[in-house]
């Protein structure tokens, strides 16, 4: 390996990690909701899109900076997530899994096209709220924005980990995830736990939306589709329902995509991503961190 190739390899790893950390943030919401409700919330990618729009309006209309935009989007989208759960998924809680899944797809289309109707399909451009500084480490390049994305992702994940592991609500979440009926018998308010999970997961997706909006500075109503699917792969890869699995899956997926684009062919990038999904479902359907469980029927 000559030094050019090594530099390129390191650069592609950096590209992959910054892309993967966004997948990971979105994947966390998927995985948490699945862990609690056994529901694949296909509208999650669109919740991320809404987050980007909230961030956009906060920075352009209210002229606020990066952190206020991030916090506003997280709060607003957290509330939106709870509302969606209460209005759309709660009435169907006793229904079959397939009808909830179809409802989630319907919700996804509803969010996409309602946004398109009111805000036009035209892409919008984020104002530059972060400096465009570039750092050179030898021949390897890291931008300040990449560092902010990575930093924000790490901080948000640590916060989530703290909430899930060390708070009473987190304990309740884990209990509901382990056995909903038993949790109910122990006096846990399952409705509250589900709402809280939706709020948390959606807030993280909202944060991812703002980060992506700032980094790529363009947003549109259909921006959530592809990242939503990729995050779903990330969640399955790490083991759906397992929080560290989603983080790991996201980063692995981002790095694989970057390496495939960089060293094999850019046309194979998505094929590799979806190929991972197929391989993991064939070899270890419970994901990298998943334990083999037999499903009770």
């Amino acid at each position: 390996m000559d030094s050019g190739l090594i530099t390129q390899f390191i650069q592609q790893i950096i590209n992959g990690v910054s892309l993967g950390s966004i997948y990971a943030l979105i994947a966390l919401g998927y995985t948490m909701v699945y862990g609690i409700m056994r529901l694949i919330n296909f509208a999650h990618g669109d919740i991320y899109m809404l987050g980007a729009y909230v961030g956009f309006f906060v920075t352009t209309q209210l002229q606020l900076g990066f952190f206020p935009a991030l916090i506003c989007a997280m709060v607003a989208i957290g509330i939106a997530g709870v509302l969606i759960e209460k209005l759309v998924y709660k009435p169907l809680r006793a229904s079959s899994k397939i009808s909830i899944l179809i409802t989630a797809i319907g919700m996804s289309l509803f969010l996409e096209y309602t946004t398109m109707y009111f805000l036009t399909p035209q892409p919008r451009t984020f104002p530059p709220v972060l400096p465009n500084t570039i750092f050179h480490l030898g021949d390897v390049i890291i931008s300040f924005q990449q560092l902010v994305i990575l930093g924000s992702t790490v901080v948000l994940m640590l916060l989530l980990w703290y909430v899930v592991q060390y708070t009473k609500m987190g304990k309740a979440m884990r209990a509901v995830s382990y056995d909903t009926d038993a949790a109910l018998l122990m006096g846990i308010n399952v409705d509250h736990v589900i709402s809280f999970t939706f709020a948390l997961g959606s807030a993280l997706a909202g944060a991812a939306g703002v980060l992506v909006g700032i980094y790529y500075n363009t947003i549109d109503p259909l921006m959530g589709i592809m990242p939503g699917l990729k995050a779903f792969i990330a969640a399955v890869l790490g083991g759906i329902g397992i929080i560290p699995g989603a983080m790991m899956g996201g980063i692995i997926l981002g790095v694989v995509e970057a390496l495939v684009s960089g060293f094999i062919s850019s046309t194979f990038r998505d094929a590799a991503a979806f190929g991972i999904l197929i391989v993991i479902l064939l070899i270890k359907p419970t994901g990298l961190l998943g334990k083999n469980q037999t499903e009770k029927v």
Partner: protein, 389 residues
């Protein structure tokens, strides 16, 4: 499918007959104006293009009528909205036939034009799509035959690839090009194919061809790879949304070589996404450019601005030319009969418009030079005018 075509043709013929009958009844009304129909994208997704086109058409009609009209008659525009949808474009075409128009400005968006043209052709009404670039608008896909009554006032997509290749090789003197294609668009793939052919024929090398998909946002991986190939020019024949991101990320990564593309770049949003700095040293081909030193073009630009308080876009210019072209053909034919107009279009020697001097090729495409634009402070400006065979 064949059955359906028959029905469409039959109904078109029936409507034509009805139109002829009503035409007889309203003889006096028909004699003092020449009705030209427009089937444009006035609302819907592509409304911005359609409205620009309509303003161009109206300006041309006003100019012609102010100068006394054609053959002593005023031109009357019958303007219908196709709502940016193929089905609406077809029904608007049908209504225009019913109205008894002598020629139609067909939709600018290829998919809408493709729906409208069969109806107009079936009714033997000549149509010109000012900016529809899909080859199928003038050439029937199944039979490979030219559609007799259908024309376009612009060149087709592949031509832009050739033009950019000769600009890069001859004017910029570049030898090693990397190409980044929007793999989800036939438009981009066509441009890339013809660019590659023309560029290698001129002795240049394509050092790498990479691809992305529409709606992609992260191009760092593929750009890192292209950077390593060390090209002296990068051709990105995609649309402005992804191109903007590509330029921004490429410049951030320290890729300083010039970039180029086609008319998919033409949008103010490109500068918003990429930023003015990233656009320095980039070029794209287009159907039209504001040329400060060309009186004809500047007269048009100023008249358009005076009437509409904004600058004309590509479709405004092309549609403006289309109306003037029709007026010239009617004048030369000495008649506003649809068949005479169609004959006149087929025999057209030359027409001089704001988008350049043109005639028609055997496949009813406009034969004219393409414009190369570059950016100055984030605004597109005229750089060169190139014609390729």
């Amino acid at each position: 499918m064949k059955h359906l075509k028959k029905i469409v043709c039959a109904s078109a013929a029936a409507v034509l007959a009805a139109a002829a009958l009503t035409g007889c009844g309203g003889g006096e009304e028909k004699s003092d104006t020449i009705k030209i129909g427009t089937d444009l994208e006035m609302t819907g997704n592509q409304a911005a293009y359609g409205q620009d086109a309509m303003r161009g058409a109206q300006l041309a009609v006003d100019e012609i009528n102010k100068a006394g009209g054609v053959l002593g008659k005023k031109i009357e525009l019958v303007s219908l909205d196709n709502k940016s949808e193929p089905s609406e474009a077809a029904s608007a075409a049908q209504k225009l036939v019913d109205e008894g128009v002598v020629a139609v400005v067909a939709p600018n968006m290829s998919s809408n034009a493709l729906a409208a043209v069969p109806i107009l052709n079936g009714a033997k009404i000549p149509s010109i799509s000012p900016g529809g670039t899909n080859p199928k608008i003038t050439v029937d896909e199944n039979s490979g035959k030219v559609i007799p009554y259908s024309y376009r006032a612009c060149f087709i997509d592949p031509y832009q690839g050739k033009v950019m290749a000769s600009f890069v090789a001859d004017k910029l003197g570049k030898k090693k090009v990397a190409i980044l294609i929007d793999n989800s668009s036939d438009y981009a793939k066509g441009l890339a194919k013809f660019f590659t052919e023309a560029f290698t024929a001129k002795g240049g090398t394509v050092v790498g061809t990479e691809a992305y998909l529409q709606k992609d946002t992260d191009f760092n991986a593929v750009l890192t790879k292209i950077k390593d190939l060390d090209p002296d020019f990068i051709y990105v024949p995609g649309y402005y949304q992804e191109v903007g991101l590509i330029l921004k990320q490429a410049r951030a990564m320290g890729i300083t070589v010039p970039f180029g593309g086609g008319d998919g770049w033409d949008s103010p949003t490109l500068a918003e996404i990429a930023g003015a700095d990233a656009l320095a040293g980039t070029y794209y081909s287009n159907h039209y450019a504001i040329q400060e030193d060309n009186k004809k073009v500047m007269d048009f630009v100023n008249a358009y601005k005076a009437a509409n308080n904004q600058e004309p876009g590509v479709f405004g210019a092309l549609t403006y030319d289309t109306i003037h072209l029709l007026a010239q053909v009617i004048k030369d034919a000495g008649s506003a009969d649809p068949q005479k107009i169609a004959d006149g279009l087929a025999a057209l020697k030359s027409f001089s418009g704001v988008t350049g001097d043109m005639s028609f090729t055997d496949t009813h495409d406009a034969k004219k030079a393409a414009f190369i634009l570059t950016f100055k402070d984030g605004k597109p400006v005229f750089a060169d005018k190139i014609s390729a065979d």
